[in-house]
Symmetry: C2
DNA sequence: TTTGAATGCGTGCGCACGCACATTTCTACT
DNA sequence: AGTAGAAATGTGCGTGCGCACGCATTCAAA
């Protein structure tokens, strides 16, 4: 039973490993835009006022929270976003999409979406696609926050060292 | 239509980003075994004579072909595999599972499988799991080899120059 | 046999990524 | 007000990873 149980997860790992480089290269070749940048621009474009704090970005985009800081630095250096400080909470820092950033994103989106369609969506039925989205959303909702497992053992307590 | 089309892929990316660190940590906490090591041990254990060449390992396991070399070095230093040369083709190098490696893998397997079950499989129905495995297998079979897209355009190769 | 291309592999190098820690600012409680 | 703790962010550092390249070997053709 283990074999069939693990099949879905194992295949997911392989698809990710095989497809991400392909989509990343296509996007870079067409728009000179790394996938990480695209993801950040996407979330900013979707957010109200095209503005998000670093923490929100780290939570919404597929980027580590600590990494967001440097990615935003790079994006700001490229003129695609601006750093702003929040007058109501001077700890937090906002990243806001610039016009150039929005235009760059809108140019890149069709490329990326087309890649997803050609390599991923077109290979399955609409029903399969919906099933995947639904099932994986349930998985995502139940995954523990952070890469946690700080207490002793993963499965057995195993208190003593 | 784009939104729902991309949903499956986007969720896959998030699940991967969220779950891989969790499973990796659980495995490391319980067995001091990185996921990459586990994957290599798994393929070796499944292979005939517990032996595979570097190229085969790179193709079967979720590890870059060039990275295999260093991973095998580390595994050999840990006594879990041995490096052997192929007398029939002196270019190739074999990695063979040792008894210690096999034992280590067999100890780790239940931990990893249980993690997959708790965080992934148990969150969906058996039908959903089968659908995911089947659909993603189709995607995998159609993905272009290598991270390719060397020629100019991203979409059509267009044979003639 | 000789020669050129192809295959399999290992390594130097640079990049991306996340962790642990320090810093600044906010919040709650006395 | 004053203080301890929490929250949000930025940074030094080590690590994993893949690419470009070079070396050894094998195959194919002349």
């Amino acid at each position: 039973m283990s074999d069939t149980d693990v099949a879905a997860w194992a295949t997911l790992l392989r698809v990710h490993a095989a497809l991400v480089p392909v989509l990343d290269r296509e996007l870079q070749a067409a728009c000179a835009l790394p996938l990480t940048w695209y993801d950040v621009l996407l979330e900013l474009n979707y957010a109200p006022d095209c503005r998000l704090s670093m923490g929100e970005l780290g939570q919404k985009a597929v980027v580590s929270r600590t990494r967001v800081s440097r990615v935003v630095d790079a994006l700001a250096a490229a003129g695609l976003v601006t750093r702003e400080s929040n007058p109501d909470d001077r700890r937090s820092a906002y990243a806001t999409l610039t016009d150039a950033g929005r235009e760059r994103f809108r140019a890149a989106a069709p490329i990326y979406l087309d890649g997803i369609r050609r390599h991923f969506t077109d290979r399955m039925t609409a029903g399969e696609s919906r099933t995947i989205a639904g099932a994986l959303a349930k998985v995502l909702a139940a995954v523990p926050p952070g890469g946690a497992v700080p207490p002793g053992g993963a499965v057995p307590p195993a208190v003593t060292g």
